[in-house]
């Protein structure tokens, strides 16, 4: 019997850092083929609809970038947390609260023209996300409670909060009792970059966040402290880095980016709030962070990939009646494949003599 084993590399392979995610995508596609067969679909045609057709028109590209926007932004925030060993899995909730706060701003100043309104909404969105992130941060640092479970539980709470608001206090009085808010005014929405397409200027903010995240992690002392506390918590304590402060920062950054992403969606493609404002972006962002191998540029590419999966899923649902759940299965599958291939960065496969 051939027995394989993993041998640790002396230094992590740089080449594999790029090859592993590509291998993961390939592996996902290979696994997808039998899945599609089982679902009674022609694999190649479906994959074409999934990955190629969405990008074959200018509008498709606009939609692609638009969807990547919240994914990349949230992925960046989560990545910083994961680097510090802070397992925030509640970005979905922070996104929701961010959107709620931004919407409250928008509805509060619904009349007239306010040039500052978008900026104020962004601030409100970030503060909302940070508020939601402050709960697990407080409980973690003061009361030693797992941030994983708390942040996740708060996601359900945030969704119920949204549901209550759009059915009650924030419901559109002229809305025929539909559970939704009024449409935001022009001052409270991003205007399209190109007429007829939904892409708006908020993508530039996300794009700007990528080098900022890089600067934080690779060049700043704060980023260094975050990385040390993630890679070797006892070394961080030994060096005198304040663990509690780092946990707060990691969660607040995650909250701010998620809240801002929620604002981008509310003031961008949505233009109002309804009970469901996210097709699971907060969870997909976890995958984005990992696909990007917890590096800023990687997260950018990972966000584009996941966005394509969303878009492909929609296209396939419309043109081939592929269930919407297919794209969520692909997302999970992609993360599973990536975790497996990522081992190649630190290890090489050897044949046991």
């Amino acid at each position: 019997m051939i027995r394989l084993y993993l041998e640790r590399r002396a230094v992590p392979s740089r080449v594999m850092g790029f090859v592993a995610p590509a291998l993961a995508v390939l592996a996902m596609v290979l696994c997808a083929i039998p899945m599609l067969r089982l679902a009674g679909l022609a694999p190649l045609a479906t994959l074409r609809v999934f990955f190629i057709e969405p990008l074959s028109s200018a509008n498709g590209v606009s939609e692609w970038l638009l969807k990547a926007n919240p994914l990349v932004l949230m992925g960046l925030g989560l990545m910083i947390g994961y680097r510090a060993n802070v397992w925030n899995i509640g970005a979905e909730g922070m996104y929701t609260v961010g959107a709620i706060c931004a919407a409250w701003m928008a509805l509060r100043f619904a009349d007239g023209v306010h040039h500052w309104l978008l900026a104020a909404m962004m601030l409100a969105g970030m503060l909302g996300g940070m508020l939601w992130a402050a709960i697990p941060a407080f409980l973690k640092t003061r009361l030693n409670t797992s941030e994983i479970l708390v942040s996740l539980m708060l996601t359900y709470v945030a969704q119920l909060l949204l549901s209550w608001l759009v059915n009650g206090p924030m419901q559109d009085p002229q809305g025929l009792n539909y559970p939704q808010t009024a449409l935001f005014s022009e001052s409270a929405t991003f205007s399209p970059l190109i007429a007829g397409m939904r892409l708006n200027a908020s993508v530039f903010i996300t794009l700007g966040a990528v080098p900022l995240a890089w600067l934080l992690l690779q060049r700043s002392f704060l980023g260094f402290q975050l990385k040390v506390s993630g890679a070797a918590p006892s070394a961080a304590r030994y060096a005198g880095f304040a663990q509690g402060r780092l946990t707060w920062i990691a969660l607040l950054i995650g909250g701010a980016t998620a809240g801002l992403a929620g604002m981008f969606e509310a003031a961008g493609p949505l233009g109002q709030l309804s009970p469901v404002i996210s097709p699971g972006y907060g969870f997909a962002a976890i995958i984005v962070a990992f696909i990007g191998r917890l590096r800023p540029v990687g997260v950018l590419l990972g966000g584009l990939l996941l966005s394509l999966l969303y878009l492909g899923g929609e296209a396939a649902q419309m043109s081939m009646n592929v269930p919407a759940a297919m794209s969520r299965s692909f997302q999970g599958l992609l993360l599973l494949c990536l975790l497996a291939t990522d081992v190649l960065v630190d290890f090489r496969i050897r044949l046991r003599p």
């Binding site: 409980l139 409670t145 909060l161 599958l333 993360l335 975790l339 497996a340």
Partner: protein, 307 residues
């Protein structure tokens, strides 16, 4: 008064049952030193598999078996990553939850609003007809009793048998366990499979007995609550049961409050189980000693034997 108390107690036992299954399974996994955050995903796959079988007219027993096998297969996937490749267990568990929820929706896409075979309640001549306690204690479906039996068995296994001792030893110090001749990865694999099967059983209970209708994401975070229960129970089976009853109680009470038309928005009531989870987690974690003395020492740390 009995009109209120009996359904409340009855509902509590029923609502606690899937939590007990899933939490006892995860407890076994964590006692072996592995953290599998994929409980929610495995439960969903189990629920979908069982519901599918029931729709096709299979017996509840067959549906449950298929659910357990399906969830155990998911668990194997996790084991391949977390044990075989020793990857980060948090990430692998999350990946399992995400894939599981997608896969379950995929399986369930044609289920529609039909329902299939469900699990009947037992009826014991004489006992079940007793006033007040009759229905609550002796008129449940068999799985309610099975959940309690499994909790007792888990306690007995961990504290009174050699394999249970070995499992705890592996969870505390895998290197030391290997040094005295135990196959750490094999033992952990068996624990993960058991946890998967139990999560499948929990899911099957949801879709066959608790709410025999298919809804996407029908677990609604119960996998995560089970995960929290394990911490709350400080890894002790008896306390898992207590915790599950507490949560069952909260869940049922808020449903009752909603139907009785209390002047509180239903969303607030629905949020109670999640808030209660946070409250109990805080209560148990506040004293770092409690957790440190009870947490399996190697929890979530990948183990790679030398060559």
């Amino acid at each position: 008064m009995n009109q209120l108390i009996i359904p409340l107690l009855d509902g509590t036992l029923v609502a606690a049952t899937p939590l007990i299954f899933a939490a006892i399974g995860e407890l076994i996994v964590e006692r072996s030193g592995v953290l599998n955050l994929g409980v929610e995903g495995m439960m969903l796959v189990g629920a979908a598999a069982a519901f599918g079988m029931a729709l096709h007219g299979q017996s509840p027993a067959a549906a449950i078996c298929v659910a357990m096998i399906a969830a155990a297969l998911m668990a194997s996937l996790f084991a391949l990553l977390a044990l075989g490749l020793a990857v980060n267990q948090y990430a692998a568990g999350l990946a399992l939850t995400i894939s599981g929820s997608g896969l379950a929706s995929l399986i369930g896409r044609h289920f529609g609003a039909r329902s299939g075979t469900t699990i009947a309640r037992v009826h014991l001549q004489g006992l079940s007809d007793l006033p007040v306690v009759g229905k609550v204690l002796f008129g449940q479906d068999p799985l309610v009793y099975l959940a309690l039996a499994l909790a007792v068995m888990a306690w007995w296994f961990l504290n009174r048998t050699r394999p249970g001792l070995v499992l705890r030893a592996v969870g505390e110090a895998p290197e030391a366990a290997r040094a005295i001749g135990y196959r750490v990865l094999r033992i952990r694999y068996l624990a993960i499979l058991t946890g998967g099967a139990m999560a499948g059983l929990a899911g099957a209970y949801l879709s066959l007995a608790y709410t025999p209708l298919w809804v996407d994401d029908m677990t609604a975070g119960r996998g995560w609550i089970a995960q929290a229960l394990v911490v709350f129970a400080t890894w002790k089976p008896a306390r898992v049961v207590l915790g599950a009853w507490l949560f069952g109680g909260v869940t049922v009470a808020q449903l009752f409050a909603q139907t009785f038309g209390l002047q509180i928005p239903p969303q607030f009531m629905s949020a109670l189980p999640y808030l209660a989870t946070i409250v109990v987690l805080v209560a148990i974690s506040r004293n770092p000693q409690t957790l440190r003395l009870n947490t399996p020492l190697s929890l979530a740390q990948p183990f790679r034997p030398d060559h």
